[in-house]
Symmetry: C2
Subunit: 577 residues, 2 copies
């Protein structure tokens, strides 16, 4: 089989203007970026072609493994499958981060015959949204340090010479890190402002990856441009010397940040290997952020197609939980069905019975039939099915088929899925066969969407933040509750006193286990999640909690992916996967 | 009069596809970015419409003052003026940096009736080239620190476990800073890698603004994609423990950096307030970099129009000197004439007789007629005329007219210009009257381009680097020579031993004086320029020298421009100037 980038390059494609035209979008509402991608104007939110709103399908998965379960492949494949069986469908997915692209994971445009094309444009700058986010984020950082510097330098004369009230920012209480869309561990902890009195105020700082910036969550959750502007104004950048928040509005930088994000707020239209439409927008990771594509992309797509297939990051304990408790809570856009992606290999790996090590040959169990190991791993599948059903929507299991799967294994997996409460189960061969390979899955999804559903969230708004965290661990992960660090306890008390108890919580935790410990596979139960720190994201509208030492700036490995990425003699990109 | 952004918003404009069509560019060779800007395919370098190559006109200026001489206004205005008198003309200018846009200077799209439109798109992200440069630059930084980290962590096992030869990077000899397109003084000096053994190797580092990155110079000087790839491979990122250079090629990151810059290498086509074509590309500052738009944009434009008007940053001692000794030396594209922009106010300010202070009312001399002060200031004009003539091309002086100028002042300025050797002098009213206001200037330029010219450079390739620096100061600035710091002396000796003496030099110095001291106005002569440091830019193809403590990362002032930038109720950008 050809490599992903070869398939992408050879796949037939329509001019993006034609993809838009087929959706009934006027030329004025498409802002092309080259010939094969374009941004959709926000006017479409109000002037979409008249039609019934489509049905939203949320794709989640079992607990991820190093083998790769192919969730994006299945998301793209299902959307192509729906179009294949005569429904209209748009996939709404997140933009890949350059960090993983050059690090280890590679791109996130799907793979094989179920890709977004041109994949190199999707995986590299796309239409510049991540860069705009980094610029807007770092403008606030520069503004904050500049204000700190000028107030200190001018002292009592500050207000007289500028006409501005002092903000008295506390350099020990800066809440806003800097950001880069890069895997760069050396930027995790640093001291800046070290040049002397003319070169800023010396203080500790850190960079997070752009996907972890509150601005990314804001972009993904904003309803429209005005809402974006208001949310940015509410961002708490620091505390002042009296312990009161200093917002982006107070620093007078919220307008300029919004201006930098004006175009990033428009979703990008692309196409699949079968020329069906895809909206790519925002890119919060599901472990360190809320892990879902944008509200605006979903809203637009629901006005343009019968079905909208959207992907929530990692397992159902991560992106799916956050989809319901954070994104749905803010958007009101409910999925009609959940698709859980599972693989025979991934469930075997989730059994906890295998020893899988990077750089070592795969265990025999993964290369041939092994029903007992699969059966053990199906406990993880059952947990995710029940977890998804808890939110009140029907669940379809999509088995992403690999060549090594035996028929007996596939039958066992299907039986276990139905026994655990899935309303449907179907094989997907989208990787090799494109939309035709996902036709069965598409039919199962259409049937599931006809079933009644009634969304139930994990916790009500009026529960305290600490109780929400405990509920999330007990009901959302299957653990025994939380332990709070002293720091987290104080922070929660302060947030409670400041009247922020009504917000939902966004947990930063490992995706590799239902617990906070990546070593605990399958369905761990006997664990308490340590909450190290909590932080108000007043612009995003949630309280962010760190479950243990969670990395918000990844690093490059010793054999990073960038080594193989280059241009060939014709100027084509090679080595991207 | 309306503000610049109001004029920009109200000015009639053509779809960018129509601007391209009028130039004879095929639709396949225009990559639109929205409806009013687009990138030109590099295939145009080889498949431009058949025609005589155009004539290149280089716009420079007197020594800049805080009053603003309107060089970009005159560049855009002249190009519109040439079109107005029936010639075809394209302006090739640099992309503005976000640092000054949000800091103090505002945008760089021209002004009044001589602007590039939409000015907010030009001044903000444009087509993402600066962001691509920052990403490619910081990828090399992350790769460098990651390699340092992994070699240290794995020790003797590094080669066995990765299959790679050790690079033995010396953390005390990292030549590659990090970069952001932001004014952020707190990032001038920092210590990174402070999190502990898992978070990188602790070392000193610094950020430069993207315009100062060697990658920016490379983008501006590259002939084509292959040349870009080769230049990036040659970049020296660090020295190893044995003092030998570590290149981007050795770190295996040059291919991925090139891939990130593949689209940035394509110039962006926009239009003026009179719908004439403009190519915007690259953005090196002329004080801390070589200060000229790209070779590729000039090459493309010369194949598409009778005249190409390009702007060199700051005074003729800065961007113009670098145009000849660096850019022309590499590109072979010679200007047929130089236009020197002067203003009555700017020359008065250059007299050294006035006390102009930020925040204070302007001296009376600048608000009414003052012939003696103007006459004194004309020494600076005469110097720049003679300086430009030294390179062997005819010089036209463009007087950018302000309402406060008296006829006697304009007459004096014109007489002085002709006496100093200008072959022509003309008023420009492009700010208020657009192309019609620059018709006289356009005629003068057409006449000058008919005159014979023979390019002479300041120094031959085979002169030593130290001698080149001394020649630059003596012949290019009018000083007595250079003094070398011990560090610079050692660096020059090392470069000489490494066989790099053949390269031209790129001086980082203040633009506010012909000398290295911004306080010395007019035509200082009795000075020696202190060279603190020199650095090989093997990819850009020059040796960079710092004349005293030159700032490569600006800071935000106490009343920064971003405070007034916002969106209005219709989503329009306001407050940008």
């Amino acid at each position: 089989m050809l490599s992903d980038i070869e398939i992408s390059r050879q796949s037939p494609r329509l001019p993006i203007a034609e993809v838009a035209r087929q959706l009934g979008i006027k030329a004025a509402h498409l802002h092309p970026h080259g010939h094969y991608k374009g941004k959709l104007d926000l006017a479409l939110l109000h002037h979409a072609p008249a039609r019934e709103p489509g049905k939203l399908v949320l794709v989640s998965a079992i607990t991820p493994t190093p083998l790769g379960e192919g969730k994006t492949v299945t998301t793209i494949g299902l959307s192509m499958g729906l179009n294949h069986i005569g429904q209209s469908s748009i996939a709404t997915i997140r933009q890949p981060s350059l960090g993983p692209v050059f690090g280890v994971k590679g791109g996130a445009a799907g793979g094989g015959m179920a890709q977004v094309v041109p994949m190199e444009e999707m995986n590299l700058h796309l239409t510049g949204d991540f860069h705009a986010l980094s610029a807007a984020h770092n403008l606030a950082s520069a503004a904050l340090d500049a204000r700190l510097f000028h107030e200190r330098k001018l002292g009592d004369r500050f207000s007289a010479s500028t006409g501005l009230a002092r903000l008295d920012i506390d350099p020990a209480n800066i809440l806003w890190p800097r950001t880069l869309d890069m895997n760069d561990r050396a930027l995790r902890h640093l001291t800046l402002g070290q040049g002397g009195p003319a070169d800023g105020v010396e203080r500790l700082d850190r960079f997070v990856i752009t996907a972890a910036s509150e601005l990314m969550a804001i972009l993904a959750l904003a309803r429209d441009l005005k809402d974006l502007r208001a949310r940015i104004g509410r961002i708490q950048l620091a505390l002042d010397l009296g312990g009161q928040p200093v917002t982006a509005e107070q620093l007078e930088v919220a307008g300029a940040m919004t201006v930098l994000l004006k175009d990033a707020l428009k979703p990008t239209l692309m196409q699949t290997t079968e020329q069906t439409p895809v909206l790519v927008h925002a890119g919060p990771f599901a472990n360190i952020a809320h892990g879902n594509s944008s509200v605006i992309a979903d809203r637009m797509a629901l006005g343009l197609a019968d079905y909208v297939v959207t992907e929530a990051g990692f397992g159902s304990d991560m992106g799916l939980e956050k989809f319901f408790n954070i994104k749905y809570r803010q958007s009101g856009l409910a999925p009609a069905c959940v698709v859980l992606v599972a693989t025979v290999r991934g469930l075997k790996a989730n059994s906890g019975l295998l020893d899988i090590r990077p750089g070592q040959p795969l265990p025999a169990s993964l290369q041939g039939e092994d029903l007992p190991t699969l059966k053990a791993g199906c406990a993880n599948l059952a947990w995710h099915i029940q977890n998804a059903r808890r939110y009140g929507v029907p669940v379809v299991v999509a088995i992403n088929r690999f060549a090594t799967d035996s028929q007996a294994e596939l039958d066992l997996l299907a039986r276990e899925a139905l026994a655990a409460g899935a309303c449907g189960v179907a094989l997907s061969r989208a990787f090799t066969d494109g939309g035709a390979g996902a036709a069965d899955l598409a039919h199962a999804v259409v049937a599931a969407c006809e079933q009644p559903s009634e969304i139930r969230l994990l916790y009500p708004d009026e529960m305290s933040l600490a109780a929400k965290l405990a509920t999330l661990v007990e009901c959302g992960y299957g653990g025994r509750g939380i332990t709070l660090s002293d720091k987290a306890r104080q922070q929660l008390a302060r947030l409670s006193a400041a009247g922020q108890d009504h917000l939902p919580v966004c947990m930063a935790k490992t995706p590799l286990s239902l617990s906070h410990d990546p070593a605990r596979k399958g369905v761990p139960t006997d664990f308490e999640v340590p909450i190290e720190e909590v932080k108000l994201c007043a612009g995003a509208g949630f309280v962010y909690a760190l479950a243990g030492p969670v990395m918000t700036m990844p690093g490059l490995g010793s054999l990073p992916a960038y080594r193989h990425i280059d241009i060939d003699d014709e100027g084509n990109v090679i080595g991207l996967s």
